[in-house]
């Protein structure tokens, strides 16, 4: 019982290594399990699971542009995974990444369209800043409501998602509606070229159908920054303290409400980047055909990655492989691509379950070892 209360800080080095090793093992085991379940569904559909999995892998890794495509798919997922994880470290659920990035796309579009006098060097940062501020403001509302009134962020952020979708629908039909000839398209005017995110396709010698941009290295940088924030700054420490035990954090002099609002704003800032690759790297306008669901996918990515920045980057790439594989499945098999969504779900649940089993096993063994130590030296009570 004592170990359960004293918790992580006292964990010895060897048992930490054991835990990390166990988690990697758990991930592999869970992935195999998910593959078997997915395989059963595929067999029921009359296809060969090995062929399907090989197709997915082949489509994701065969050529350099396929790998670039995987990185492109992973870019928004890294940001949304980080956004979810940061909030979760403070014991909060940001289910509203979805609405926050949609608002971020809206405010980015406004900046791209109305600040067009700025030179490109300033315009791109201004557009990004605008996205980030919009998304953070959208995140601030549920955070403040939570701290001031106790309204649970899970419900309020979901409602904010619904409002964001309607707001963007209204904006692209009214103040931002394109002035061009094709008024059937529900979208804004095209952004000026200098507002777009610098592409990595040309420098890397890839075809222009790949929308890999500077945002991918920025996403990796964001992983490093989030790691530094969580594990090397005072606020990060406070955030983790609030998340692991709000009672002791408060007793330690940490203002829970203030820490929660700050971390939710940071989460919103990260959410602001989620829609940008789509907006500034691919489309170049905001239309009603924008990608939805990236916020919810972020929750999956965060938990696959154990809420750790490195894990998040890896699991975003893994999901990126699966998304790329959908094209392969659609082209080479009769299988509905939804199989991969089901596979993702099974994977997430089995991974989370496997982590939990490892944690329990390690904790139990540690408890036993401590019992042995205590039995050997029973002087203190």
């Amino acid at each position: 019982m004592a170990t359960a209360v004293s918790g992580a800080p006292k964990r010895s080095r060897s048992s930490r290594l054991e835990l990390i090793g166990g988690q990697i093992l758990a991930f592999v085991g869970a992935a195999l399990f998910a593959g078997v379940i997915g395989g059963i569904i595929i067999v029921l559909y009359g296809e060969n699971p090995l062929f399907v999995y090989a197709t997915v892998l082949n489509y994701a890794t065969a050529r350099p542009e396929d790998i670039a495509q995987v990185a492109e798919n992973a870019t928004p997922l890294i940001f949304s995974g980080l956004a979810v994880a940061v909030a979760f470290k403070a014991g909060m659920f940001n289910i509203g990444v979805e609405g926050q990035y949609i608002i971020g796309m809206l405010t980015a579009a406004i900046a791209a369209l109305y600040l067009d006098r700025l030179p490109g060097v300033l315009l791109v940062p201004a557009v990004v800043l605008s996205a980030v501020l919009g998304a953070a403001a959208w995140a601030a509302i549920p955070a403040i409501l939570k701290v001031k009134t106790g309204a649970h962020e899970v419900v309020t952020t979901i409602m904010m998602n619904g409002i964001a979708i309607s707001l963007v629908a209204w904006a692209i039909l009214n103040p931002l509606k394109s002035t061009g000839e094709q008024s059937v398209d529900l979208r804004t005017n095209l952004f000026p070229g200098k507002a777009l995110m610098p592409s990595l396709a040309e420098p890397l010698g890839l075809p222009s159908s790949v929308h890999l941009t500077l945002l991918f290295p920025i996403a990796l940088l964001a992983c490093a920054l989030v790691w530094f924030f969580l594990y090397r700054t005072r606020l990060g420490y406070e955030v983790r303290a609030v998340g692991s035990s709000s009672g002791s954090a408060e007793a330690g002099g940490i203002s829970i409400g203030a820490a929660q609002i700050k971390v939710f704003l940071i989460s919103g800032v990260l959410a602001g980047f989620v829609g940008l690759n789509h907006l500034l790297g691919d489309k170049g306008y905001l239309g009603n055909n924008y990608e939805v669901g990236l916020g919810f996918a972020g929750i999956a990515v965060a938990f696959l990655g154990r809420n750790h920045p490195v894990g998040i980057a890896l699991s975003a790439l893994l999901i990126g492989v699966l998304i790329r594989g959908e094209d392969g499945i659609a082209l080479s098999t009769e299988l509905p691509t939804e199989v991969l969504i089901i596979l993702q779900g099974v994977l997430i649940l089995s991974v989370v379950v496997a982590y939990e089993l490892v944690r329990r096993t390690v904790a139990r063994r540690q408890l036993r070892e401590e019992a042995v130590v205590e039995a050997a030296a029973p002087a203190e009570a």
Partner: protein, 312 residues
């Protein structure tokens, strides 16, 4: 003109109420047993696809029951994850919602040959008129005539729910599992099976509500037809303080709020708003209600917490 619309608006509000209240009552059983269930939306989605298939194959009564049964079966994933494996309740719920969308598309392709919808006009129950109320003047009678028989059933479900929760051994034990699982276990109550039961009931209710939506309201399966109603049901549950009658009032409020964009868009004041802003009304109402009333809510003490009992 607005008064005639009012009858139609109330009729539509009552249909939304039915979806919300049935789903929220299910959520009530789950949360009272200690398991937070934000997967209600996904359980509803499973109910819509399986209910639509069921009614085409075997008629509307069977369709509703098949919807409920499939919600129950699918909810066992949530129970297994949260009760047995102590997965965070929110994470498991989110996964339920993600998988349900994929599953529904998969099944739709299998059943109807297209991923996103069935043919329209699937079989539904004969509608009924409520005696006396359907004769109300000023067009209000329209609200109570030509009604799906499931609507009054939803209201009546409050009675067995209250009875089971407060007057049966099962209800008492279920609540003890949600309030103080340690004490319950000390008294010889086994917490895990109770929580499985709570989640299973929530799955059956949400699946039934989804089947009602597909069969009785839209008369087809269509991707995205649940439109986040599962989450609004969750809000009604919180607003209603996890008590059946108060949840009924909350569901009525949100049901009417849902109907406003579709039936009251011509009413004074509201007609001045752009359509997209009218569509925000249910969400705004929910946020205000949750933020305004939440000081007085009192969730089950152990809801959302894993219980590592002796059997774990």
């Amino acid at each position: 003109m607005p008064l005639i619309d009012l009858g139609a608006a109330i009729a539509l509000g009552l249909r939304y109420f039915t979806i919300l209240y049935l789903t929220a009552l299910g959520g009530l059983f789950s949360e009272r047993s200690g398991i937070v269930n934000i997967g209600l939306e996904g359980l509803m989605i499973v109910g819509t696809i399986m209910g639509a298939w069921g009614t085409i194959e075997y008629g509307p009564v069977a369709g509703l029951l098949i919807g409920a049964l499939s919600g129950l079966v699918f909810s066992m994933v949530h129970a297994l994850a949260t009760v047995t494996f102590h997965v965070d309740h929110i994470v498991s719920g989110v996964v339920i919602n993600l998988v349900a969308v994929g599953l529904a598309r998969f099944l739709s392709a299998l059943f109807f040959g297209q991923a996103t919808q069935s043919d329209p006009g699937i079989p539904h129950l004969n509608s009924i008129d409520i005696p006396l109320l359907d004769k109300l003047p000023l067009g209000l009678g329209a609200a109570f005539s030509n009604m799906s028989p499931v609507v009054p059933i939803a209201f009546l479900m409050a009675i067995p729910t209250i009875y089971v929760l407060n007057r049966t051994r099962f209800g008492l034990r279920l609540r003890s599992a949600g309030e103080n699982p340690e004490a319950a276990e000390t008294l010889g109550v086994r917490v895990a099976p109770l929580r499985y039961a709570g989640v299973g009931i929530s799955g059956a209710f949400a699946g039934f509500a989804g089947a009602f939506l597909a069969i009785e309201i839209n008369q087809l399966f269509r991707e995205g037809q649940t439109q986040g109603l599962g989450f609004i049901a969750l809000a009604a549950l919180i607003l209603g303080n996890w008590a059946p009658i108060k949840v009924m009032i909350g569901s009525l409020l949100f049901g009417i709020a849902q109907a406003i964009p579709l039936r009251l868009s011509d009413a004074p004041v509201i007609s001045l708003l752009p359509e997209e802003f009218i569509r925000m009304i249910p969400y705004v109402v929910t946020i205000i209600a949750i933020a305004g009333f939440v000081g007085r809510v009192n969730p089950p003490a152990a809801a959302g917490r894993a219980y590592e009992g002796s059997a774990a």
